[in-house]
């Protein structure tokens, strides 16, 4: 078994500096985006094919005090990724080490991965025509760095040690210890430990995770039901095909019988 990696993101240590956002762009050669002041620090407004890692800013009042909170938003690298499950051509796959990566050469651009992802991560190159070859784009856990013994660009860049890269199991233990040590600082939960079957990215937060901008999700992978249905499809097709053939035969015999009876009546 390969070592399963993950990242523990302690949002209470994040200062919202966006160093990780910039480092991600630098390592992955992503261009800047033209943006506008929309009255929030979150900039650009959402993940896109050009921005795979985004700091989202939340201003809310807690205990009568104004609070400023940050979410490092990027691919969660699920243990049971919906995008991998739904991709008809298997362009997305999960490596044994954890990263959920994408094969540029297979994708047909159906965008089912975008529809299915419970975190809204995959993005599409909307302004590329046939000659420019549009593709799905998302964080790839810096698989090219990690497989060469380096840590992801965002984790490397973080100045306040909010992002810890390491073995997922150890990170879970570390997060649990951290909550036990400072129960006043954290919500008593590790987001991503069990969500949709567990994710490689784990979050600690001072405020409830949905206020931070993470979706409320169950512990079963979202594609459990669709995968079950796919398993039953071939056996069902066999039974249904045989039933249709049987019905056709039955009605044919019955019609022939009725014809014979009618002919007999005529001749007698």
């Amino acid at each position: 078994m390969a070592t399963k990696y993950g990242m523990l993101i302690d949002e209470t240590r994040c200062t919202g500096c966006r160093g990780c956002q910039v480092a991600c762009k630098q390592w992955n050669d992503l261009p800047g985006e033209v943006t506008h002041n929309r009255g929030t620090y979150t900039n650009p407004p959402a993940l896109s094919a050009k921005t795979w890692n985004l700091i989202q800013y939340t201003e809310i009042e807690t205990n009568g005090k104004a609070g400023f909170y940050f979410l490092k938003h990027a691919c969660m690298h699920c243990e049971k990724p919906a995008c991998v499950s739904v991709c008809p051509v298997g362009a997305l796959y999960k490596t044994p080490e954890g990263p959920v990566v994408y094969d540029d050469t297979k994708c047909i651009g159906c965008r089912y991965c975008m529809t299915a992802c419970p975190f809204g991560i995959p993005t599409f190159e909307w302004s590329k025509g046939l000659l420019d070859q549009a593709l799905i784009r998302k964080c790839n856990f810096c698989v090219d760095r990690v497989s060469n013994g380096l840590i992801p660009a965002c984790a490397k860049a973080c100045p306040s040690k909010a992002i810890t890269f390491g073995e997922r199991d150890k990170l879970v233990a570390q997060a649990e210890a951290q909550i036990r040590k400072y129960p006043d600082r954290y919500v008593n939960r590790i987001y991503g430990k069990d969500e949709v079957g567990g994710t490689s990215i784990l979050y600690l937060s001072a405020i409830p995770f949905d206020q931070l901008g993470l979706p409320r999700l169950g512990t079963t992978p979202v594609t459990t039901l669709s995968e079950q249905v796919m398993e039953y499809t071939l056996p069902f097709a066999g039974v249904w095909g045989a039933a249709l053939a049987g019905l056709a035969l039955l009605f044919r015999l019955r019609n022939r019988g009725a014809q014979h009876a009618a002919e007999k009546e005529k001749s007698s």
Binding site: I108, S226, L247
Partner: protein, 377 residues
């Protein structure tokens, strides 16, 4: 055949060709500058009208082909044979229209053949892709006797006749899989499809509503083609066809009620805008058609038959939009309404379908007046 000789340059034909030309230009623009250049689709709305209407509704409304074919060939209901060919044609054109829409909507249309060589059997889309390919081929074969007859090619005609029953069984099987798998697509998006529509039974619901809309679509299409092509409408025949719809929609309604009750979801039916849409769908497009089609008076009158048929067709469109597009939770500050160029693509494909139907009606033996010309036996 003189009555069909009507494909002259009338205003209607001009409009159809204008729409088709516009569609070609928009498609060209899309291939040059990307999907974003011609649509309002975005990362929060990866699927829009092309998927929800052109694809989901296109396939559902093509169901008349397999329902009619299985009625005649599997269930031995010979009296429906006169409407078989128009029904097959509607289904065949429907699938071709879906494929054209897909070639616009897919991000990498030039790679559509990847479905054949790269397999992911966990993906419902994998099943959908294969069903589109295989059933389109079956429909082409089921349609081919019209061309062979016209060309006077005896041998291919004989071969197709000898395998017709196999084609129909295969077509019915593939249709069952395809119609239901379009519902299964959304089993992978729990928490996104509105709770009033989300259910493990989505594949069953999609299949049942397709079976119900099949005859309704044949009724609507027969009525319109009778008007436009100045043919007589076989009112008693299509009226008989309408008898299939109430029991099928009835089963759908009962399942839906039991399903919502067992899941304890009725609270969602009295809550928000989606609740209103839910009741419009159930009362206006399920219960009302059941009531209408159950009455002999409605079934014996061409106009009311047409009206009730339209109701079922609109109802299925409404349902597919509700399941796949409307009422999905989206990130704040995002919105979607189809761009005029998205409409241009959709309307141009419909226009092309109408023109193709007209051409087939004019040049091929579509409405075979005598039984000898019909496929098989």
């Amino acid at each position: 055949m003189t009555t069909l000789n009507r494909f002259r340059i009338s205003p209607g034909v001009l409009i159809l060709f204008a729409l088709m030309s516009l569609g070609v230009l928009v498609a060209l623009w899309r291939y040059l500058f990307g999907i974003g250049a011609v649509s309002n689709l975005n990362d929060a709305y990866p699927w829009g009208m092309w998927i929800s209407f052109d694809l989901l509704c296109g396939v559902a409304l093509a169901a008349g082909a397999f329902t009619t074919a299985s009625a005649v060939y599997i269930f031995g209901l010979e009296r429906f044979r006169p409407i078989l060919r128009p029904a097959i044609l509607t289904g065949f054109l429907g699938y071709l229209m879906v494929i054209v829409a897909l070639l616009v909507d897919l991000g990498r249309p030039e790679r559509i053949w990847h479905l054949i060589i790269y397999w992911n059997p966990h993906s419902v889309m994998f099943e959908v892709g294969w069903c589109v390919m295989l059933y389109s081929a079956v429909l082409a074969l089921e349609f081919s006797p019209l061309a062979f007859e016209r060309l006077g090619w005896k041998l291919p005609l004989k071969i197709i006749h000898s395998i017709t029953i196999v084609l129909v069984i295969l077509g019915t099987l593939l249709s069952t899989l395809h119609q239901s798998s379009l519902g299964s697509l959304f089993l992978a998006t729990p928490g996104k499809v509105n709770p009033l529509w989300f259910s493990a039974l989505l594949p069953v619901y999609f299949f049942l509503t397709a079976v119900a809309v099949g005859p309704a679509m044949v009724i609507v299409e027969s009525f319109i083609s009778a008007r436009v092509l100045h043919r007589g409408l076989e009112t008693d025949l299509v009226g008989d066809l309408a008898k299939a719809t109430p029991p099928v929609l009835g089963v759908y309604l009962v399942l839906k009620v039991i399903d919502l009750t067992l899941a304890g979801k009725w609270a969602f039916a009295f809550r928000d805008g989606m609740s209103v849409l839910f009741w419009i769908e159930i009362i206006g497009f399920v219960i009302l058609p059941i009531v209408l089609f159950s009455q002999p008076k409605v079934r014996q009158n061409a106009r009311s038959l047409f009206g009730a048929g339209v109701l079922v067709v609109v109802g299925v469109v409404f349902n597919r939009l509700n399941v796949s597009l409307i009422g999905w939770p989206r990130p704040a500050d995002t919105s979607y309404f189809p761009h005029w160029m998205e409409f241009a693509i959709t309307f141009s494909i419909i226009a092309a379908g109408i023109v193709a139907y007209g051409l087939v009606a004019k040049y091929l033996p579509l409405f075979s007046p005598h039984r000898a010309a019909s496929p098989a036996e």
